[in-house]
């Protein structure tokens, strides 16, 4: 079997606050292969954000090994982690996290700039990414001139521009209305169809239903890992939604 892109083995993340020990991740093991569309679901405080931070190389585990594309990330320096974030990971955040002073094009170019590409190549790749999210004509606008859904598409373009191995989406629809959320999720699904590996972090069961595979986290432990429709809560959420739609 081919090597997993993301491999967590017995990951612990323990915070000590005074005398109490908080186990944000309590012995988590799973792996993600190329082309998967995984949703990590859990309530706030369940440990899903810690999980995302570790996958995203923004944080390091207290113990356990995390192999990203076969590389043990826990041994890397800050600069090496920065390189990995730049080349292997694409982030999509709940708050979009675009830089307000830069225009859309410059925002999308940021990861390419830090990679040290030539300006002409940065522009070409950024425009291509903006094309994919349908915002080529808005490239000279400032983020504040765009709607929430458009801003999130810009941040998707920024994540795509670097052609990362994994796209990490942290509550990508958290700040959007349900219609725009749907559009964004459909777009992520389409990206997955085209071969991109997507890891989605969410607390919303109906959003998680878009993914093919679901990992449910509770109190730092994995309580379910399997296909989306195999999770009882997701199944009931989807059913009740369909009933609602049918009633209308």
């Amino acid at each position: 079997m081919e090597q997993p892109l993301v491999e967590f083995s017995d990951i612990y993340k323990i915070y000590t606050m005074g005398d109490t020990e908080i186990r944000a991740l309590d012995g988590v093991s799973f792996s993600v292969h190329k082309g998967e569309f995984l949703a990590i679901i859990g309530q706030s405080g369940s440990g899903k954000s810690t999980c995302m931070n570790i996958i995203g190389c923004l944080d390091v585990p207290t113990s356990g090994t995390y192999l990203l594309n076969g590389t043990d990330v826990s041994t890397l320096s800050d600069n090496q982690l920065a390189e990995i974030r730049n080349e292997m990971l694409g982030f999509i955040f709940q708050q979009y996290n675009l830089l307000p002073k830069l225009n859309v094009l410059d925002n999308v170019k940021l990861p390419l700039m830090y990679r040290g590409l030539k300006d002409s190549e940065q522009t070409a790749r950024a425009m291509e990414a903006l094309d994919r999210v349908g915002l080529r004509d808005k490239c000279r606008h400032k983020p504040s001139q765009l709607s929430g859904g458009q801003q999130q598409r810009v941040s998707i373009a920024r994540a795509l521009a670097g052609s990362p191995s994994v796209i990490l989406a942290d509550e990508p629809t958290g700040a959007l209305d349900s219609k725009t959320s749907r559009e964004v999720m459909d777009f992520l699904a389409e990206l997955n169809q085209n071969g991109n590996t997507i890891i989605l972090i969410t607390h919303d069961n109906s959003i998680a239903a878009t993914a093919k595979r679901v990992i449910r986290v509770h109190d730092g432990k994995i309580i379910y890992d399997g296909p989306a429709d195999g999770d009882d809560i997701i199944r009931s959420t989807v059913l009740s939604q369909k009933e609602k739609e049918a009633a209308i």
Partner: protein, 393 residues
């Protein structure tokens, strides 16, 4: 990351907060302007002092013999012998007898008291004097003790009128002297200026002063580098003639000028150091505002780090920004410095030119201060933990 992009980023960040940026720059602006103004004014003062000394003559040595009551003296013949002996060091040596005399022109009813200087025929070369009408004293005037004189334009205008003095008579202590030359005007023919001068042969002056020994000489040293050598030659001669050089004072214009220059240079350094304190304070102001800026932009730093910015990228961004703030402050300070030093020069009546050296140094120092004081905030920014930075509201 290229420099153009970083610079553009820094400028847009400065422009987005104009008032704050200006106030931050103010310390640097004042510091740079102060350095330029002080250096320029000091240069102007030094220049004026130098000009004054140069007009006296940089190649000149004044020799004064103070052996009062001694039977032995340095005679003009001794000095002329010395001149022959060391013709490669000295160009000219002239005796110098100054006395106050009663001066009366035939056209006037009242007489004046003025200074009369007795010299030999080389004195115009020593002092670089230019005779405009007529001629200077000649060897025969001195040796035959002819009653001739050369006057400055003050006497010409005062007694005879422009161009009418040549060939006229002037009475010095009652004796009639024929005017054989008039000097070029140097200082608007004003009273007590260098234009109020009257030169006669030293032989006459010596006799007139009732003092047969000559106690003062002026020498012209061919090369200013030989001033020290010339001084020691004269002292040696004095020792030979008088038994010691204690009673002979040799003053070189150049030495006085060097002395004065070293004093003004020290003064200048002291003033620049004081102005430099303002630059230092300006630098601390920049550091302070950069620390605030880093805190305000924590989230931006988090975003950049999540996208793969390394420490050096964040560092260079903030250091560049601090350098740009101080550099812009430096440019504004230079403009202010040039304007104010010109105004100050006008007010003080000095020829003040903003010193290019001071401009270059002040600008480099201001940029360097920005970079140095921007370093700590930039380091703080670069060391931020990306998750904490991203969560920062």
């Amino acid at each position: 990351m290229n420099i153009g992009k970083t610079l553009k980023l820094a400028i847009s960040s400065i422009l987005s907060n104009k008032m704050r940026s200006f106030l931050t720059m103010l310390g640097i602006i004042i510091g740079v302007a102060a350095v330029i103004i002080l250096v320029s004014i000091m240069d102007g003062v030094t220049g004026q002092v130098t000009d004054t000394f140069e007009s006296i003559g940089m190649n000149n040595l004044s020799v004064m013999v103070t052996s009062r009551g001694s039977t032995r003296a340095i005679e003009p013949e001794d000095m002329y012998a010395l001149l022959d002996e060391h013709s490669d060091t000295f160009s000219y040596i002239s005796p110098n007898v100054t006395l106050n005399a009663v001066i009366k022109a035939p056209t006037e009813t009242d007489s004046d008291t003025g200074s009369v200087t007795g010299v030999d025929e080389t004195y115009d070369e020593i002092k670089r004097l230019t005779v405009e009408q007529g001629r200077f004293l000649q060897y025969v005037d001195v040796s035959k003790m002819l009653k001739v004189c050369v006057i400055g334009t003050y006497y010409e205008q005062e007694y005879y009128g422009r161009g009418k003095a040549l060939g006229e008579t002037i009475r010095i202590n009652g004796q009639p002297y024929t005017i054989v030359g008039v000097f070029e005007e140097q200082a608007d023919s004003a009273e007590n200026s260098s234009d109020q001068c009257l030169y006669i042969p030293y032989t006459n002056a010596s006799k007139m002063s009732w003092n047969t020994t000559i106690s003062s000489y002026t020498a012209y040293v061919t090369n200013t580098d030989d001033i020290d050598k010339a001084t020691s030659i004269i002292k040696q001669k004095a020792t030979e003639l008088l038994g010691s050089s204690d009673n002979v004072t040799v003053i070189a214009t150049k030495e006085i000028l060097d002395e004065v220059s070293s004093i003004t240079d020290t003064l200048k350094m002291a003033l620049v150091c004081i102005a430099g304190i303002s630059l230092l304070v300006g630098g601390i102001g920049i550091m302070n505002i950069m620390l605030v800026s880093v805190t305000e932009r924590t989230r931006e730093i988090g975003i950049r780090k999540s996208l793969g910015a390394k420490k050096k990228h964040i560092m260079s961004q903030f250091v560049f920004e601090a350098g740009t703030v101080s550099g812009l402050g430096g440019i504004l300070g230079i403009v202010a410095g040039i304007i104010f030093s010109t105004v100050a020069g006008k007010l003080l009546g000095l020829s003040v030119v903003a010193s290019p050296g001071a401009i270059v140094v002040a600008f480099s120092v201001s940029v360097a201060i920005g970079v140095i004081f921007g370093f700590l905030p930039a380091k703080n920014a670069a060391n931020l933990n990306p998750i904490d930075a991203l969560r920062f509201e």
